[in-house]
């Protein structure tokens, strides 16, 4: 092989691998992306039942109902609208009424049937998406301060944790084997 042919083989190989990778990425982006919605988004955009989504907001105070065998239902609110979330499993350590939460699952007519509920390992946690959604609804100040003020009188900025493990994700009892 001449130098030119070798170089061509190298470039062709590289382009082929890149093309496969681009294909994989586009395919995966189509199938596995989940959009974040606030309860208001769900109502206004008329999201169809059966859509997989992430719903974020505050856990409405007094809305948590625990059922048989680790089943739990709660309301997620952004002040303007409220969506019911049903979940089965262990909630993250920091799940509390009046605190920010993100649930991921499938929307049905009754609300969201979640297969994971996310909170973060910090007492002053407010998921950024949730904070933005609340600001948009104009409920940022009132809700946030009411929820936070009581729990944490200190007015210093939130200190989030350091290099260490990630956000805690509650996994449901129903997914069975594969966790990865």
């Amino acid at each position: 092989m001449t130098r030119k042919q070798r170089r061509f083989a190298l470039i062709a190989g590289g382009v082929a691998v890149l093309a496969v990778a681009v294909g994989l990425v586009l395919n995966a982006l189509n199938d596995s992306i989940v959009f974040f919605n606030s309860p208001t988004d769900v109502v206004e955009k008329k999201v169809q039942p059966g859509t997989r989504l992430r719903i974020g907001g505050l856990v409405a105070p007094g809305s948590v109902e625990r059922g048989e065998n680790l089943a739990v239902r709660f309301q997620v609110t952004d002040g303007a609208n409220t969506i019911t979330v049903a979940y089965k499993g262990i909630l993250p350590d920091l799940f509390r009424e009046g605190q920010g939460v993100i649930a991921e699952g499938v929307l049905d007519t009754a609300g969201v049937k979640a297969d994971s509920v996310l909170a973060k390992h910090d007492e002053k946690y407010m998921p950024r998406e949730v904070a933005d959604a609340l600001k948009k609804q104009g409920h940022w100040q009132s809700d946030y301060d009411k929820g936070q003020g009581a729990a944490t009188p200190a007015s210093t900025p939130a200190q989030a944790p350091a290099p260490g493990p990630q956000s805690s994700v509650a996994k449901p009892a129903s997914t069975g084997a594969a966790t990865q």
Partner: protein, 659 residues
């Protein structure tokens, strides 16, 4: 007084770094040896002063000086001493100080030990290293001063985040940082070579030990972080494809590619331009990782208090270094001489294959990590890219790479014989097929599991085949084999061990992800839950007082076939100072698998939510990474690569086999 001394020492270190950045470069330009020689003492002095500064902050933590804002916000007088010390880097300011400390340490090591480097290259490398250091000193001093005082010191500190009150914090960040920052050496070597405009095989030989050191530590750091998350977060996951994890995985992938391409450059003087580019990209990815983690663009447990000024500053550093080095690359790289020729099927070709797949995989991780940020900035839509995305992109790209791993070391340089290598890998293929059949017969399960196990065995036996071929095992008399084994360069052992470690890790990943048994249920005293072949009996519940927390402990006994084999006591801790709870999982090892039990909430009826997993082979994940790191260490101990080794004589160099 001590904090002020620390602050002052940091300012002095900045001044030294400025001198170290400018004077040697002027020397290189004018050919003034005296100016170039300034680099060495300034690098050593700079390390001394950053060391003093770090010691001052540590001292403030040890004596719980709450008049220092940083200490007050992250420490508590009731904490054990070890956590007081680890708290130093358990926060934004302190962790950046650790970052520059390690950066200065690498500079000092190069100044002290790399005696056989040409003076100009040595000076230029230290100068580039100092430019990086200058940027980070400015960042710390201008936006994140760890020594800031409080006008009214509180009586008690606000405690360290409970999640971080763990021995993991003592190990994971320092290891990871040595890895991240270690790649700055590869960057400095590359930038210096471009500045001087000369690059050859010797350059690759000089830079390789530094790449290896960084790679070993990054490997261990990522593995340690993964194990920490596994036992601390309480739901048994070991890799989450969290953006912050990806931030450490990307430099690891690029660094692994760099390790292999530097090999081609060292042996065959080929892939010069590519190696230089990879060195720049690897450190750029380390910087991007720092930016992602520290700027607050991502919400993650790893991100500290977000201050927009810091994000903008890090972004500026990022633009300066990545943009600057790539500009330098575009300007100078065309002047580099073309390297040696090789056929597509050859050792070089296999290493190119390795690089192609590693960098492409790195690119898919990059896309998955940054696409949501870009999309939100451009359209405002908020999306999440989770594990499914990475499993669908990263996974398929790893398969051809893993299949190719045993082939690489067996192929000859310049022109290889693929068919011959395939024949020599017959034993490995046979072992892989046997493992596949046995797995189907014993475990059944999803189709992916037996294939994965077969691939893992192929990689391990393939690595052993490489060694067996080199020492002529079974082909030559035992004496010859032993002599050959003794004469085999350590780097050959290192390659085989590291590749085998990859196979071991794959076995662990397949075992954990395919045969994990999960059981989540509410239990009361007297209840028994079955997890795989184990029975978990709830014996009782205790409340206990720890130093700065209260804990709820549940005692379980584990039975196998009716026989009691262990007791487990997972707990849930409530930290009063921060109003937080943590989950302490209890682990029982069986072989290389683990039984994992953690607690959820205490229900009003007195039952406790319990999460129990049986994870066969799970420990192989971390054992595999450890074996990989040992392989790296073996390679590092190879005489040719030893940093302080005297220059080999011309005759020995010529006689050296082309490994």
């Amino acid at each position: 007084m001590i904090p002020e001394l620390g602050h002052y020492a940091l300012v002095l270190a900045l001044a030294l770094a400025l001198a170290q950045a400018i004077v040697p470069l002027v020397g290189v330009r004018t050919g003034d040896a005296a100016l170039i020689a300034v680099a060495k003492p300034t690098a050593l002095a700079q390390f001394l002063f950053v060391g003093l500064s770090f010691a001052a902050l540590t001292a403030s933590y040890v004596v719980s000086d709450f008049s220092v804002e940083n200490v007050a916000a992250n420490s508590h007088s009731a904490m054990p001493l070890v956590y007081k010390i680890t708290s130093v880097w358990g926060n934004h300011e302190g962790s950046m100080l650790l970052w520059v400390l390690i950066l200065a340490l690498f500079g000092a090591l190069l100044a002290a030990f790399a005696r056989n480097l040409p003076a100009a290259l040595h000076g230029a490398i230290l100068a580039v290293q100092a430019i990086v250091a200058t940027a980070f000193y400015l960042f710390i001093l201008l936006t994140s001063n760890p020594f800031a005082r409080l006008a009214q010191p509180p009586l008690e500190g606000r405690d360290l985040n409970p999640i971080l009150q763990d021995i993991g914090l003592a190990i994971h960040p320092p290891l990871l940082y040595v890895g991240y920052v270690g790649f700055s050496m590869a960057f400095s070597f590359a930038a210096a070579a471009l500045l001087i405009g000369r690059i050859d095989a010797a350059w690759a030989r000089w830079v390789r030990p530094w790449i290896l050191v960084a790679w070993i530590f990054l490997t261990l750091g990522i593995a340690m972080g993964s194990y920490w998350a596994y036992y601390e977060l309480g739901w048994g996951g070991w890799w989450f494809w969290d953006p912050v994890e990806n931030a450490s995985l990307m430099p690891w992938l690029a660094g692994t590619a760099l390790l292999h391409s530097a090999l081609v450059m060292e042996k065959r003087e080929a892939l010069k331009v590519w190696t230089i580019l990879l060195a720049i990209l690897t450190f750029s990815l380390s910087l991007i990782g720092t930016f992602l983690v520290r700027s607050g663009v991502l919400t993650s447990v790893h991100s500290f208090a977000t201050d927009p000024a810091r994000g903008v500053f890090i972004l500026m550093i990022l633009v300066l270094f990545i943009g600057g080095s790539l500009t330098l690359f575009a300007w100078r790289a065309p002047m580099l001489r073309q390297g040696g020729l090789f056929a597509p099927v050859s050792r070089e070709g296999s290493l190119v294959f390795n690089n192609l797949f590693l960098t492409t995989a790195c690119a898919t991780v990059f896309v998955g990590t940054l696409y949501p940020l870009a999309l939100e900035a451009l359209t405002g839509a908020k999306i999440s890219v989770g594990a499914p995305f990475f499993n669908m992109t990263f996974g398929p790209l790893m398969v051809p790479l893993l299949i190719a791993v045993p082939f690489g070391p067996l192929l000859a340089w310049k022109r290889g014989d693929l068919l011959g290598v395939a024949q020599r890998l017959m034993a490995a293929s046979g072992a892989a097929i046997l493992a596949l059949v046995v797995t189907i017969a014993v475990a059944g399960g999803p189709v992916l599991a037996p294939l994965g196990i077969g691939l893992g065995v192929f990689v391990i036996v393939g690595a052993a085949t490489d060694l067996a071929e080199r020492i002529a095992l079974f082909r030559a008399p035992a004496g010859t084999t032993l002599r050959r084994a003794a004469g085999l360069p350590r780097s050959a052992w290192g390659t085989a061990v590291a590749h085998a470690g990859l196979g071991v890790m794959l076995l662990g990943i397949v075992g954990e992800s395919q045969w994990n048994i999960e059981r989540i249920t509410a239990m009361k005293a007297g209840d028994v839950a079955t997890v795989g072949r184990y029975e978990l009996a709830f014996d009782g519940l205790d409340q206990r007082e720890g130093g700065n927390y209260r804990e709820l402990v549940v005692r379980f006994s584990v039975r196998e076939g009716g026989v009691r084999i262990a007791t487990l006591a997972p707990s849930k801790r409530a930290f009063t100072h921060r109003d937080m709870a943590t989950t302490e999982a209890a682990l029982m090892r069986h072989g290389v698998g683990q039984l994992y039990v953690s607690l959820g909430d205490l229900n009003p009826d007195g039952s406790v939510a319990v999460r129990a997993y049986d994870k066969p082979l799970v420990l192989l994940i971390w054992i595999g990474t450890l074996v990989m790191a040992i392989g790296g260490g073996l390679s590092l101990s190879d005489r040719r690569l030893r940093v302080g080794a005297p220059r080999p004589s011309k005759a020995r160099l010529a006689a050296q086999p082309a490994e």
